[in-house]
């Protein structure tokens, strides 16, 4: 079998393994290409606490400076903080240094445009063209600008959340919250936010040292410690962030991981209760979002997978809330980005204002079970696999904008190649776990045949 590559250069950025493919020279060149692309303006950079983060940062700073860009280094912080800073400072762009949920040996650059959104496919292709051409703007002498280290970007982030949502309404008893930041970018700002909102916080994995106390994805199987801690402290809710603090998962007061799909469901429930408007999610998001929107008589739009597709559609539809089934909540009134801090604030407000527990809230919402699997697959084989799926399930309704989504009467099934790793993702949703599992097993069986 051919070796699975450890470097992924695509429209979602450059991602690779430190000590192998992700060399400082490559990173410097990408930063030079980005500086060239943005026209040597002001660029905000921030990173997650991975051990390789400092090396990557310096390589990026060197590349940016050499193109005559001015660099604002906001240090270790969530990706949405970088996006917010780009917008608030009217910077020309931003670079977030994070491989989000990938294992610790990975790191990546994610490129942010002047709007604070990730580069869309067209912009990203321009960037890649510049990178591959290898001719970058070269600043010398007095054209060279400096790097400014700025502290307190995360405090501003908290402030902009409070400006929109305010602190929690007074309740008899303060809400007690357990936060598991995975020792990631949310480790310091997360607890601060919860306290600023007026809740009590119990910290779990909040030492941002680049160690991974659990796999970074906030999937139910990775949240054992959080579930235990919630029960132990009789907390009202548990939150789990990923490494770059854009995604959020929830654990109920009974110590049950409710599935990261339901973060967006609860956030939607709260936001639509305040104001009506369109909801945008991606193809692999749970149908529960549509069910909640239906209650409020609001339209739902499903997009291709990828944050930038969701934000594009949100702008077009003037959506009031949007996000992804992986725990990414986008609330445009605060930040046009997947933002776990915003997610925490919305869900805590929901709890405080409704006076209900997580379990009680969920009881009013249809429950689906989502089963996700991934199988290793070289990039060049992905098209063949998708063709097989289309042929095998030809009798059902299909959405083929992104991979293949098979829509069945009692659930749905999605098969697609990952943009970030050489794998195929299989997602199925049904009313029961058994049914969802059997859908996944069925399709994997048919693919591997």
């Amino acid at each position: 079998m051919r070796a699975i590559p450890t470097l992924k250069i695509s429209i979602s950025g450059v991602r690779g393994v430190v000590g192998q493919s992700l060399t400082p020279k490559l990173l410097t060149r990408f930063a030079e290409a980005f500086g060239t692309h943005t026209g040597s303006g002001t660029i905000v950079i921030g990173r997650d606490p991975r051990t390789s983060g400092e090396m990557v940062k310096h390589a990026v700073v060197a590349g940016l400076l050499s193109t005559g860009s001015r660099v604002i280094d906001i240090g270790v912080c969530p990706v949405p903080t970088v996006q917010l800073q780009v917008r608030n400072r009217r910077a020309q762009g931003g670079i977030a240094i994070t491989a989000s949920h990938n294992p610790p040996e990975w790191n990546a650059l994610k490129f942010i445009g002047s709007s604070g959104l990730f580069l869309d496919a067209g912009q990203a292709r321009e960037l890649l063209d510049i990178y591959h051409q290898g001719e970058y703007t070269k600043a010398g002498g007095a054209e060279l600008r400096t790097v400014e280290v700025v502290e307190g970007a995360t405090d501003l982030h908290i402030q902009s959340i409070l400006d929109v949502l305010g602190p929690l309404p007074k309740t008899e008893k303060k809400l007690r919250v357990v936060l598991d930041s995975c020792n990631g970018a949310g480790s310091l700002v997360g607890p601060k936010l919860i306290e600023a909102l007026g809740a009590e916080v119990i910290r779990l994995n909040t030492t941002p040292d680049g160690s991974f106390p659990r796999p970074a994805e906030p999937l139910p199987e990775n949240l054992g410690d959080l579930c235990r801690t919630v029960k132990e402290h009789q907390a009202d809710i548990g939150f789990a962030q990923d490494m770059d603090a854009d995604r959020l998962a929830i654990v109920s007061e009974q110590g049950e991981a409710i599935g990261e799909d339901y973060t967006l469901v609860l956030a939607t429930l709260f936001v639509l209760g305040r104001e009506k408007g369109a909801v945008v999610a991606n193809l692999s998001t749970t149908s529960a979002v549509a069910d909640v929107a239906k209650k409020f008589d609001c339209p739902v739009f499903l997009t291709k997978i990828g944050e930038v597709n969701v934000t594009d559609a949100m702008q077009q539809q003037r959506a009031v809330i949007g996000g992804e089934g992986n725990g990414g909540v986008i609330y445009p009134r605060i930040n046009f980005a997947r933002d776990s801090l915003v997610g925490i604030a919305l869900v805590l407000h929901l709890l405080a204002e409704s006076g209900k527990s997580v379990t009680e809230l969920l009881a009013d919402i249809p429950r689906y079970t989502v089963v996700k699997e991934k199988i290793a697959c070289a990039s060049d084989r992905i098209a063949g696999v998708l063709r097989t799926v289309r042929q095998e399930f030809a009798e059902f309704q299909m959405d083929t904008r992104d991979g293949v989504k098979v829509i069945m009467p009692d659930g749905w099934l999605l098969v697609r190649g990952s943009n970030t790793e050489p794998i195929i993702r299989v997602v199925a949703e049904a009313k029961s776990e058994e049914r969802a599992r059997s859908l996944v097993d069925d399709v994997i069986g048919r693919i591997s045949r």
């Binding site: 430190v18 000590g19 192998q20 400092e54 090396m55 310096h58 990975w106 060279l144």
Partner: protein, 496 residues
């Protein structure tokens, strides 16, 4: 149909167009085409004279043209690989490209698995001392020394605080050219530590090696021009510690260089004015990174950079006869001084690493070069302008002699330096042709570094620069007229 197609070669008369190679004329091509004619495309071939020098003394070039961040990253990776990881110090001077190159160097070193200590803006000799007390495995100085502000360079220091010698420099180059570097994984990669202690520690070492109390008691008035370079952080502090009344100019490290960072009489106008106005006992001029020193006498006279070594040698050898190590290109005034005091002179090729090695081998009492770089072995075996200041002020304080009187007693020779810009690929052959013409005339040749010819009334030294694409001609004679004649004689024999 005849196509009017005039391609005309001319010698550029526009001085600005010749930058940064100010010295000599070079060929340009101008293409004139008739506007009506249908013409095949004509490829104009540009003369390639890129200001980049990669050699055993490191890498040096113009930022924004040839010295790219990738190049700095790769050299840092190569150096990290060469030292097999370990602890590496990084310092820089105040050039505007310093921050950019620093980031590139830090990235390269970290990627290779090094533990990096960033000393920030700090003189190179302070870093070289710190390599020892921080028990580091090496260091990188980000500075183009005396080159104009658009330039930058990397200089590599080993675990004893000295520059890599030529063999080690070649090994480093081999690794760079091979392009395969050590790579740290996520579990072995280190972080950057920042410290600003190197300068304090440097002053402490200087303090221990000179008669500080004697100097303090004299309360000398001393003028200093830091050229807004790294010495802005060191020199005024050191002079204050010596109890001097300090008249500092250009000591703002965030401002651009006020003049070329080369301590020569041409760049010392401000310092002269301050020495005169402040009735200072002496004036000192620094380069950008604290290696070279220029002197203005108490009469306000700017001294040739060659005089710095002559003064230091006179002071040193009066106290203690011994070996002075200098390069082939330095004034023979030092030979006369050594003969007076029963000392001797050892000549090496041009370059600090050779001086350091010469000092170790011959147990020398002083090292230095005609460029104004002085090594005081008690402090460390590398050029250090702050140490040279200590040596000179100690003498002024202990003897009460005025610097102008001391200079008056030194041999007065005329030395002339001239640079000829040569295309990089012609450097060697131009030198060889010069050598052949010398041999034809039956002259005796010293070929230790370039070609040195000693004649009855003086000497001529012709060598390729280590740092720029040019040939340097240095001549010395008893009088300026004789020196000029000698220079013309040599220039006539260099055919570009």
């Amino acid at each position: 149909m005849a196509i009017e197609n005039i391609i005309r070669c001319y010698q550029s008369k526009d001085r600005a167009a010749r930058q940064p190679f100010g010295g000599d004329d070079y060929l340009c091509r101008e293409v004139q085409l008739s506007p009506t004619a249908q013409l095949p495309e004509i490829q104009t071939k540009k003369v390639s004279m890129k200001p980049l020098k990669i050699g055993i003394t490191g890498v040096r070039g113009i930022v924004g043209e040839t010295f790219t961040p990738e190049l700095a990253v790769e050299f840092a990776e190569a150096f990290g690989t060469y030292l097999d990881r370990g602890r590496i110090l990084v310092c820089r001077d105040t050039r505007p490209s310093g921050q950019m190159i620093r980031s590139a160097v830090l990235a390269g070193l970290l990627a290779a698995g090094c533990e990096v200590v960033d000393l920030g803006v700090c003189p190179t000799p302070s870093m070289q001392l710190a390599v020892k007390w921080l028990k580091a495995d090496g260091g990188i100085a980000i500075t183009a020394g005396h080159n104009p502000w658009q330039w930058n360079a990397l200089k590599f220091v080993r675990s004893d605080g000295l520059y890599l010698n030529s063999t080690q420099g070649e090994e480093l180059l081999d690794i760079f050219h091979q392009g395969e570097y050590a790579k740290a994984g996520w579990d072995t990669i280190k972080q950057v530590v920042q410290t600003a202690d190197a300068i304090e520690e440097h002053i402490k070492v200087l303090h221990e090696n000179f008669a500080t109390e004697a100097i303090r008691s004299k309360k000398l008035t001393v003028a200093v021009d830091c050229c807004n370079g790294a010495c802005s952080f060191l020199s005024p502090k050191w002079l204050t510690k010596l109890g001097c009344e300090v008249l500092a100019v250009n000591d703002n490290p965030t401002a651009p260089f006020p003049h070329a960072p080369e301590p020569k009489p041409e760049t010392m106008a401000q310092l002269r004015a301050i020495v005169k106005a402040g009735r200072a006992a002496i004036g000192f001029a620094h380069d950008a990174d604290g290696e070279r020193l220029g002197i203005v006498s108490d009469l306000g006279e700017p001294l040739s950079e060659e005089m710095t070594l002559a003064i230091a040698a006179e002071i040193r050898l009066r106290k203690k006869a011994g070996v002075v190590v200098t390069n082939v290109s330095t004034s023979s005034a030092v030979d006369v001084i050594a003969a007076r005091h029963g000392g001797s002179v050892v000549r090496t090729p041009v370059g600090q690493a050779y001086i350091s090695e010469g000092l170790i081998e011959h147990n020398g009492v002083l090292g230095g070069e005609g460029s104004g770089g002085i090594t005081v072995p008690e402090v460390h075996l590398t050029h250090d302008s702050a140490a040279a200041i200590g040596l000179i002020l100690e003498h002024l304080a202990q003897t009460g002699e005025r610097i102008s009187d001391l200079v008056a007693g030194l041999p007065q020779l005329a030395i002339l330096k001239h640079n000829v810009t040569v295309e990089p690929h012609r450097l060697y052959s131009v030198l060889q042709e010069f050598r052949a013409s010398m041999e034809e005339e039956g002259l005796e040749i010293d070929a230790m570094d370039g070609i040195k010819v000693t004649l009855a009334d003086g000497w001529v030294h012709v060598r390729g620069s280590n740092t720029e694409s040019m040939i340097r001609i240095i001549v010395e004679a008893q009088t300026e007229a004789a020196a000029r004649e000698l220079l013309d004689w040599a220039r006539d024999r260099i055919k570009r």
